[in-house]
């Protein structure tokens, strides 16, 4: 009796396997709160089109765990239909010859995406990945109460920034709330480089890795500025998580924080309102620049025609205005697709949308170095090591520049 049941179950699973041949398997690491909700929307849209969604969520390690799982699957010749991969990693995967051309879905995309974004999604001129959202990294979050007491004017350059920081310090606060983890150090570093050197210098130094730009007085000045920022950070910052630093800004223990717009999620979930409880402004000197961090799904080569159709539908769904809106409202980022209504977004996101479109035209739109958008992971890691060392030792700016030159040669 029992044996019969087992046999039936095995048979049923085979049948089920066969009828779901056209399922669309998507690897991602969006497993927490707002992110999980956002993925559920995508699943709903795919199911409405008659596809079977198969979730391949691997949590942990900021995507490291997911990437390890993905490598194992690709090496075994059993890649998922799509995987959450971003920045130059898309190119690294495409060079392995495992990504699919999704031209069938991307005819219009050149018109909808800024060129620098579109190029990141292409390999040899063909789209191989679909962008989901845009995070702006060069935000400065300020406690509004403290700002009002200090005159109410948000800093637009580093002189004003340090003047404000002094006032915060005099008021007994930790002027700059920061978490001493390498990626957070790098986040501050890139905003400082952008503020000190401008978008063109940023592009030369941290995207093109031009040795002349890296070994320059401007870079030296960036490190000097970074060294000065260090003096406003409390010593307990070592190892602190970014959201704890955000909490310091919220409860007035800290004055301001350099962090991407995911920090907004922390403010929102604590029922804080932009303009009333906190201010979001571009980091000093970067009003006309925008460091973008774009999440995207890279599409892997699949054989089954029905699955290929599902893949194209997935790409179309990701770029659809409906998905872009609902996803980004949940996640706190902004749509990557241009020409959409911003009615439902909050003040910070509205400003982000305006700046995104403006900088896309002016050339101030640059890929975020600290968040894996600008250079291959090996080079990025080597540079982040230098920055982290600078932030956590008495290294001189001159030595830091020399170390940076060496690190930028990492291939």
């Amino acid at each position: 009796m029992k044996l019969k049941f087992v046999a039936a179950a095995i048979a049923a699973s085979f049948v089920a396997g066969a009828s779901y041949a056209a399922e669309v398997e998507v690897l991602h690491w969006w497993t927490s709160g707002g992110e999980a909700k956002s993925v559920a929307e995508l699943k709903k849209m795919m199911e409405a089109k008659g596809h079977k969604w198969k979730d391949f969520a691997v949590a942990g390690g900021g995507g490291d765990a997911a990437m390890t799982a993905l490598k194992a699957r690709v090496v075994a010749g059993n890649a998922p239909v799509a995987a959450q991969i971003k920045g130059p990693s898309i190119q690294e995967w495409a060079q392995q010859g495992v990504l699919a051309d999704i031209s069938g879905a991307s005819d219009e995309w050149d018109k909808l995406l800024p060129k620098v974004v579109g190029d990141a999604m292409k390999y040899k001129g063909k789209y191989v990945a679909a962008p989901v959202n845009v995070h702006r990294v060069n935000w400065l979050w300020i406690n509004q109460d403290a700002l009002n007491k200090a005159g109410g004017k948000a800093p637009t350059n580093f002189d004003e920034f340090f003047a404000l920081a002094d006032k915060f310090k005099a008021a007994g606060m930790t002027a700059i709330a920061h978490g001493g983890q390498p990626w957070q150090d790098a986040t501050v570093f890139e905003s400082v480089v952008l503020g000190v050197g401008g978008a063109k210098f940023f592009n030369d130094a941290l995207v093109k890795l031009d040795p002349k730009a890296i070994d320059s007085p401007t870079m030296l000045k960036s490190f000097d500025t970074l060294a000065k920022i260090k003096t406003y950070i409390d010593k307990d910052a070592a190892g602190r998580d970014w959201n704890l630093a955000t909490a310091m800004v919220m409860n007035g223990k800290g004055g301001m924080q350099f962090m991407g717009d995911w920090a907004k999620g922390e403010f929102t979930s604590a029922n804080k309102v932009a303009g009333k409880d906190y201010a979001c402004v571009p980091t000093p000197g970067t009003a006309n620049a925008y460091t973008f961090n774009i999440d995207s799904f890279a599409m892997f080569k699949v054989k089954d025609a029905a699955v290929q159709k599902g893949q194209l539908d997935l790409a179309t769904a990701i770029m659809s205005p409906e998905f872009q809106e609902v996803f980004n409202l949940n996640k706190g980022s902004i749509p990557v697709r241009s020409g959409m209504s911003d009615a439902k977004f909050d003040a910070c996101a509205k400003k982000s949308i305006v700046d995104f479109n403006a900088t896309a035209k002016s050339g101030g739109l640059v890929p975020s170095f600290a968040h894996g958008m600008a250079v291959p992971s090996a080079t990025q890691g080597a540079i982040v090591d230098v920055v982290a060392k600078f932030m956590n030792s008495n290294m001189s700016s001159k030595d830091a520049v020399a170390a940076l030159v060496k690190a930028s040669r990492t291939k």
């Binding site: 010593k235 070592a238 190892g239 090996a378 030792s393």
Partner: protein, 289 residues
């Protein structure tokens, strides 16, 4: 000729585990060694690169930070765990009351995972939350204990947490060894008028030699593969101040798409283990056999 079942049965039963360990331990060691000589980046790539990965490894400042850290951590961790473990074991061996209870207290840290003790020590040692703040609030405003956030001292906090966790284990092994010492010898020494410290120094501790060997063996491999404790306690920071080879290997292989370099660092770790263990095991088997 037919063999008796009791001759072939054990071999048959053991063969799957033998095959499994040959493949999954030694097989993968070989693959790792092979990868360390290739151009592998994101995925394994069997293009021969010679010793290029090793040149890269030895040129990497971060690798040397890790290597120095593991030397400091390994030496202090093994020495202190052994010294404290032996001391507690000898004290417990004085036929005191409540020994079972005390023994359990000292052994319990071993039941925790390194992640738990690392996190607990992170809070205890954090200057703004833990010990420093506590002592300052007791009325010693000038007291500072900021090793955890001081790049020069942070590696020693890893030693503190590691010793706290493992000293009890060393104690248990030493205690078992002490109980195995023949009481006749001790009595004979007492008759000869030897003092207790002399008995320990000249008779008991030398007979514990095999225990010292096992404790070193076990603690050394805990030290070399230490990853979770450092990740939980300092995350390798401040900066890269408490980086250890295991973290180096993980980051370069899996986060930074430099599989070849990661494999080279893994091979170096294996070589270190072999360089320490083989002479030790050789000396031990020779002296006991």
């Amino acid at each position: 000729m037919t063999m008796q079942p009791d001759r072939w049965l054990p071999k048959l039963v053991l063969s799957p585990t033998l095959a499994a360990s040959l493949l999954f331990v030694y097989g993968f060691i070989l693959i790792t060694v092979a990868l360390s000589f290739t151009e592998s980046r994101l995925l394994p790539n069997w293009e021969w690169a010679g010793v290029e990965r090793y040149v890269e490894l030895f040129d990497s400042e971060r690798w040397w930070t890790s290597a120095i850290n593991i030397a400091i951590f390994g030496t202090l961790f093994i020495a202190l765990s052994m010294a404290i473990g032996l001391l507690i074991a000898i004290l417990l061996d004085q036929k005191i009351r409540g020994e079972g209870f005390l023994r359990a207290i000292y052994l319990y840290p071993m039941a925790l995972s390194f992640i738990v003790s690392g996190t607990a020590w992170k809070w205890i040692l954090n200057p703004g939350l833990g010990l420093e703040k506590l002592v300052q609030s007791w009325g010693f405003p000038n007291f500072t204990f900021d090793w955890l956030v001081n790049p020069d001292m942070a590696i020693y906090t890893v030693v503190i947490a590691g010793v706290w966790q493992s000293a009890g284990f060393a104690m248990a092994l030493f205690l078992a060894g002490l109980r195995g010492v023949d009481s006749e010898i001790i009595k004979a020494a007492q008759v000869d008028g030897a003092s207790t410290p002399t008995i320990y120094r000249r008779i008991i501790i030398p007979t514990l030699r095999p225990v010292f060997f096992s404790v070193t063996l076990i603690l050394a491999h805990i030290a070399i593969k230490s990853f979770d404790l450092v990740m939980a306690l300092t995350g390798g920071g401040p900066g890269t101040a408490t980086d250890v080879p295991a973290i180096f290997m993980y980051q370069f292989s899996f986060s930074r798409g430099q599989l070849g370099l990661g494999a080279a660092s893994a091979v170096m770790m294996l070589m270190t283990v072999i360089a320490i263990m083989v002479p030790l095991m050789y000396a031990e088997t020779k002296s006991s056999g």
